[in-house]
């Protein structure tokens, strides 16, 4: 079922050689989607086990250690698989969720009540489709040479411009600096190919058609490869998950659910902004929003965490808030709101909310690793380009391992930091993280504008962080209620003396 690309109408002279997806295979994509869905769901199930185990360990408990793959049935024949330290727990949980009675409480808005968990899961899975999870390769480009063509056009005296030249210039202007990826006419194609061959010969590289063939033979470990708005897509779709929470909370007809969803909407809207601003610096340095290109950029230039640690810190904090994880889990604060937005949900509907949350965790972990920790890069082990299936498996392992470390970090933070109060949460986003993100951007702009060494970003951003912290300590503080003493007699005059 190979889908063969044809040039659009009116552009019949376009060569298919320059298109990356001339052999887009529908079947392979379907298989990829099914695999990713299955693997992610299995990973989510086992992450829940990991979460329970880590919670137990951090609290000096043992954690689930009873259920093996016999799931507690006596007639299970394989004694080997019995009681493997709780490894069967996620499967038993899943079966329980599936077989539980599907309760729809009276008084709920049934349509929205049922849509909400579906929305939670579908947005989470849509977000993961542009995030690579293993080896990827960027399509080869004639971009640099095209820029040469533009330069040639630009340096040509205006008096000698032909009509064709003028049309080409207009087209370039309309499309902006990155508009054209492949040549617009046969003549330009010939010109660029010649230039590319010469360049390849001079540098000892491969000419463009060969690079393209190599690329077309590679397998991309991402459902939708080469989405040029990758990061923005993840953020946009990921924040749609807030609608699931809001719908679920509102349609439940329960004040605790509603409070949880209100908190969630306010929180997500606040944390989208520092999240976007914190990765602006990375986008600016890379010159692309394409996640694959961001990973490959870090191969040549070093991992972004080395240059923009403050941005990394802000991004990690924001994704904690995005995923409703402790210390920002106010929408589902058990101690205050019963269960938050999913108070009225049980059985598979509750499990879908859970699945959405954990999928979101996996997506954001992959994204954080791709943006700041070099994706599938490991110095001395992996390098860009398609290196066969062995290389692909190694890259998958490296990337997956980094992602797992990140998720484990999430879980340890849960047992380390107590939950923020709501005003503290908002204050952190608007008064701390947003100014810091802007300052970080300023540092990146400064270094890039004066074409200084990238290493300068590290001391500059750290200095910026410390100076900002010192300034915040010097800031006039609002009168604090705690200043009037922690223990005392409220009627005596002593209180007035100590209050200020």
């Amino acid at each position: 079922m190979a889908f063969t690309w044809k040039p659009p109408k009116g552009h019949e002279e376009w060569s298919t050689v320059y298109l990356v997806f001339n052999e887009w295979n529908f079947v392979i994509t379907l298989i990829l989607i099914a695999t990713v869905m299955g693997v992610v769901q299995g990973t989510c199930a086992y992450l829940i086990l990991a979460e329970r185990k880590i919670s137990a360990w951090a609290q000096d408990r043992v954690g689930p250690n009873r259920v093996g793959f016999d799931l507690g049935f006596d007639f299970f024949p394989f004694t080997m698989l019995k009681g493997l330290g709780g490894l069967g727990q996620p499967i038993a949980d899943g079966i329980k969720f599936l077989l539980k009675e599907q309760v729809i409480p009276g008084g709920v808005d049934v349509l929205f009540y049922l849509i909400a968990p579906c929305l939670a899961v579908s947005t989470a899975f849509m977000a993961i489709c542009v995030v690579p999870f293993g080896a990827t390769a960027s399509p080869p480009s004639l971009l640099d040479y095209r820029t040469d063509a533009q330069v040639r056009l630009a340096t040509k005296p205006l008096a000698s411009f032909t009509d064709d030249d003028r049309a080409l210039l207009d087209q370039y202007r309309k499309e902006g600096p990155r508009g054209v990826v492949w040549p617009r006419s046969r003549s330009e194609e010939e010109l660029l190919l010649k230039a590319d061959a010469a360049h390849a010969k001079a540098t000892g590289g491969k000419p463009y058609p060969e690079r393209l063939k190599e690329f077309n033979n590679s397998v991309q470990f991402v459902i939708a490869p080469h989405v040029d708005i990758g990061v923005v897509f993840v953020m946009a779709i990921g924040s749609l998950g807030a609608y699931a929470i809001v719908l679920g909370g509102w349609s439940s007809n329960n004040k605790y659910s509603l409070l949880g969803s209100m908190r969630s909407s306010a929180q997500l809207i606040s944390y989208e902004i520092p999240m976007g601003m914190s990765i602006l610096g990375v986008m600016f340095v890379t010159g692309s929003l394409n996640v694959e290109q961001m990973i490959e950029f870090q191969h040549a230039n070093g991992w972004n965490i080395l240059f923009q640690p403050v941005a990394c810190l802000l991004f990690i904090t924001s994704i904690f808030a995005e995923c409703n994880r402790v210390p920002f889990d106010l929408p589902e604060a058990e101690q205050e709101l019963v269960g938050g937005y999913h108070t009225e949900y049980s059985g598979m509907k509750f499990a879908l909310f859970f699945l959405g949350e954990y999928t979101h965790m996996i997506t954001t972990s992959f994204l954080a690793v791709a943006l700041f920790f070099g994706g599938w890069l490991l110095p001395g082990v992996t390098a860009p380009g398609w290196g066969g299936w062995t290389d692909a498996v190694v890259k998958l392992g490296v990337y997956g391992g980094k992602m797992l470390l990140f998720v484990i970090f999430y879980m340890y933070i849960r047992w380390t930091i107590p939950r923020f109060r709501f005003d503290q949460l908002m204050g952190l986003a608007w008064k701390v993280m947003m100014p810091l993100a802007l300052l970080n951007l300023l540092v990146v702009f400064y270094v890039k504008h004066f074409e200084l060494s990238s290493w300068l970003m590290l001391p500059l951003s750290l200095t910026m962080l410390i100076v900002a912290t010192l300034l915040s300590l010097r800031m006039p503080k609002p009168p604090s209620k705690t200043d009037i003493g922690w223990r005392g007699h409220p009627v005596t005059g002593r209180m007035a003396m100590v209050a200020k």
Binding site: I54, A56, W57, A58, Q59, D60, R61, V62, L313, Y412, I413, W415, T416, I417, L465, I466, T469, L470, S472, L473, S480, T482, D483, G485, W486, R487, G488, H489, V491, T492, R494, V498
Partner: protein
Amino acid sequence: MPIKNDDVIWMKPPQIGLFEQLYVPAILQGLQTTVEHSIKALFGKGQVTQQFPEVEPKLPANYRGVHRLNRDEQGRVKCVACYMCSTACPAHCIDIVAAPAPTDWHKDGREKYPETFVIDELRCIYCGMCEQACPVDAIELTTLYDLTGMSREEMMFDKEKLLSVFDETTKPNAKFPNPVRTKAGRLGVASELADQGLTSSSTAQS
């Protein structure tokens, strides 16, 4: 009585310095604690969980579990059917029907005995007031803790069952030995525990 001014301790919250305001070092300190605990747990140390069915919990000797009806030296039920326990019971779970005792009991001063003695173990709150009320130490709460049943009827313990609990717990090498209890005409539980050296240090000091 109001708190005197001199007794009031005025405290200010500690001043936050650069180290605390940066958040990150403090978070790393916290992470260190969490991870240390986990690493200990990975090697199976420091865990407080008891693996219940395999490992029996160590319960204090005055734990209040399932009731028993004591027998006297001749194997008769000790209870004199005075209704003190069922009167004292806050959950109203004890039901006694008294009857005149057999004539050969009269030489021991026994005029009444319980014809039926039923305790609803599901209704009971295990407060131990029945055994405190009992003038003849006939009803006691044992350390038997894992009481389960498949029906409500099963959990209505009658006289025979309660006496069988006595037989079980007084057997040599019984799994649940005799409880340490307040007895009629003796001092309270705490003093007896101190005699047997079973108290924790804080109880001994007080």
